[in-house]
Each structure stands twice: as C-alpha cells, then as structure tokens.
Amino acid sequence: MAHQIRVEVNGEVQEREVEARKLLVHFLRDDLGLTGTNVGCETTLCGACTVWIDGQPVKSCTQLAVQADGTRVTTIEGLADGSKLHPMQEAFWEEHGLQCGFCTPGMILAATALLDTNPNPTEGEIREALKGNICRCTGYHNIVKAVQKAAQGGASNG
C-alpha cells in the first residue's frame, strides 16, 4: 500500500507516494535523484548515508521514508549556496579531507552538525563526533584537519 508523504528536502517541499518499506536513502536517491547521499554498508555503521532530519544527523539507510513525513531533510546537495561551497565543503577541499570521496557527504554533514552544537571542538571531540562515519581510503587525519579549519573559519550553520 502506498503512503502519501510530504517532506521538505533542501528547502523544497516534495510530495510523493512511497511504499511503506522504502528506506529514506532510496527515496532521496531514486525518487528525488539526490545521489549525493551514498549507500554504503546498509547496516547503520558506515555513515555514508548520513543526512539531517530537522537539523540532526541520522543514517538514512535505517529510516523509512514514511518516518520522514512532515520533517525537514537536508542532504549534501543542500549545503552549498548556489555555486558557493559551504565553508565545511571548502575546508575539506583545502585540507584534502578525502580520497575517493564516497564517505565525504556523510562526513561533511556529521561534521557540520557538530559545529552547530560545539563551534570550537577539541580534536578528541571531532573524532568522537565522526565515530559513526567510516573512511576506508586513507584514515582520518586530513578529515580532522578540515573540520578544525572549518571551525576556525566559523563554519557552523547556527
């Protein structure tokens, strides 16, 4: 049975019919074409599918699309202001906080959410906040440096 849902995605209201079992990540990727949100482990561990629901980072592989009805969802596509990158995206670019890029959308959304609640995190707090985001290329050194750089530049959305 299909369910009508109404979700504000990156500032735009989307009304769609979804099957109850459709996961939020598939709704974003397949129904809305927002393929910046990646499907990684599919088991709530890797964080590649991280999006914000009402400003809080969550793993969209472990959410039903119907659960997002009436909420505000932000994906990586919603961070940049036109062609101007979000300061966290800029910092990942500057510090080379990625290699293959698969984990990057989730990393950036988790890191930006951290700065919203804690604008000057310690290195330990950054690593703790990114515990749910796994990078399998090269480790976390430059990712942490990128978040630190963004924090110095005042990259929270707050």
Binding site: M1, L45, G47, I53, P57, T62, V66, G132
Partner: protein, 285 residues
C-alpha cells in the same frame, strides 16, 4: 537491502497504539527503528504490520515524578546523554546512553526500543538493573510496573506481553552521597559491549551503606552481582575490599562466548571492569 512488505500504521496516542496492536496482533512497534529496522532489513523479522509510535508526545520526555525520574519510552539516547536532570541526579544513565553507537544512532534510537529488543550486548539493560529501575507497561488490562531485574527474561526476550506497550522507565533521583559509573569494553568494530559494568554506590560516614553492580555482554540477560554488593556493604569500600569481594563473590552462570571473546575471557573482563566501575563510583560518591 530493504524490509519485506508490511502494513504501516501511525499512532497518534498511546491508546491508539494499543488499539492498533489489538487489531494487528502480530504487528511490531516502531519508534527510532534502530533495533527493528536492521532486523527487518536482514529479514530476521518480517512483521506483517508496523505501528509507528515515534510521534506520540506523551511517550517522550524526562520529568521528576514522585521522587523518581520518569523517562518516556520513546526518549532518544541523545536526549538521555544530554539531559541536565540525569547528569545531575542519575548520571550513570546519561553516561551509558552517551556510549551507545555513534551520534547518528543516538539521534534516533530510544530507551524503550532498546530494552524491548533486549540485546545482551546493549548498554542500558545492566544500567537499569543496577539502578533497580522500574518499567511501566500498559496493556488492555491496565498498567503494571515491572522491576528491571524481572523485565529481561532471556536472549532478546522480555516480560512484555504480546498485547502490551512500554510507556516509561523510572530511575532513582539521587541526592548527594551516591556515586555511579558505567564502563565497558567495547567491540572495536560494532561498538557493542563485550562486557559492560554498571555500579551504584551510596557512601555514608566513610562506609558503604548500599551498592549494586550489574553487567551486560557476558550473559543472555543482565547479570546482577548481588553477592559482591552484599559483601561490600559496611566496608570502607577501599580498593582491597573491592578486589577481594569481586574475586570471592562474582559468579557468572553460562557466560556468553563467541569467536571474538570466549566466555572465560568475558568473565575475566567482568572482574576487571566490575572492580573499576565500583572504584569509579566510590570516588564520585
């Protein structure tokens, strides 16, 4: 990887949730979905219907009630970890909730969902047993209270009836003189507890007036080390007393073992983490 088909119902109130359950007796409640959805994606669970209780306001929140702290069933782990009331008056629950999974998981997973799932490697069950918490359960015949120690009855099984819903958990409101600690040896990949130790200590005039110690991860259900606690009441709770009580009185029937950690190793972890948790709780009392 997605669940098998199911009917989805969203309940607007606790009563509506129970009514829906009466009409769909094989349905599962969905709150944060962080225990149920992974099971459904792996097809280990294939409920014909799911009742979403995630938006029922009366099921969520932390409030003082009759000398205890009442926590609504759908209160999220992140809210437990951040709660000023818990951090001041029942800090072990905030501490343990802050160790669950990762920030994204804590933003969705709920207290009621956690204990209903009753995973032996989960952090909160042993904490609730150590706190002698009470679980409020509502069914067609009204509400009943179940002590945490009686709530967990086996691997992934609880005393919750098929027609019942968890509405809240009550934990003690501690004033001064009480120290608590939750420490765990976590699995490096999953973050689940290989062994978690929850300790509560009441000190009075330099003497241990009351204490409790419970473990998760080492058995199908939380293990309450009541003999260790009994041996410590009346002592000064110095390191030697704690070490002696643990080595003489900690017994774990049927310890869990797997390819990562044998039962023998988990019992050894319990001895070490149990002693550390008691010492940390004493130092905070």
């Amino acid at each position: 990887m997605f669940p098998a088909s199911f009917e989805y119902h969203r309940a607007g109130s606790t009563q509506e949730a129970l009514d829906l359950l009466a009409r769909h007796p094989e349905a599962k409640f969905l709150a944060g979905g962080h225990s149920l959805l992974p099971m459904m994606k792996l097809r280990l669970a294939q409920p014909p219907a799911v009742i979403d209780i995630g938006r029922i306001a009366e099921l969520s929140g932390i409030a003082l009630e009759g000398g205890t702290i009442r926590i609504g069933a759908t209160t999220r782990h992140g809210e437990l970890a951040a709660s000023q009331t818990l951090r001041e008056h029942c800090p072990i629950l905030a501490e343990a909730a802050g160790h669950i999974g990762d920030p994204q998981v804590r933003n969705r997973g709920t207290l009621g969902g956690n204990i209903a799932h009753a995973d032996p490697a989960s952090d909160l069950p042993a904490v609730l047993v150590a706190l002698d918490a009470t679980v409020d359960v509502l069914g067609p015949n009204g509400e009943r209270q179940v002590r945490a120690a009686d709530f967990f009855v086996g691997l992934l099984s609880t005393a919750l009836g098929e027609d019942e819903i968890i509405t809240a958990v009550h934990v003690p409101f501690f004033a001064s003189g009480v120290g608590t600690a939750y420490l765990k040896a976590e699995h490096p990949a999953s973050g689940y507890a290989v062994c978690g130790a929850a300790a509560v200590v009441t000190m009075s005039g330099g003497v241990c007036a009351d204490t409790s110690l419970a473990f998760n991860g080492i058995s199908d259900i939380p293990v309450s080390a009541s003999a260790v606690a009994a041996a410590l009441v009346g002592t000064s709770l110095d390191d030697a007393a704690i070490d002696a009580a643990i080595s003489s009185h900690l017994s774990v029937p049927d310890p869990l073992g797997d390819v990562y950690a044998s039962g023998e190793y988990r019992v050894q972890l319990a001895k070490v983490y149990g002693a550390r948790a008691l010492k940390a709780a004493r130092d905070r009392a």
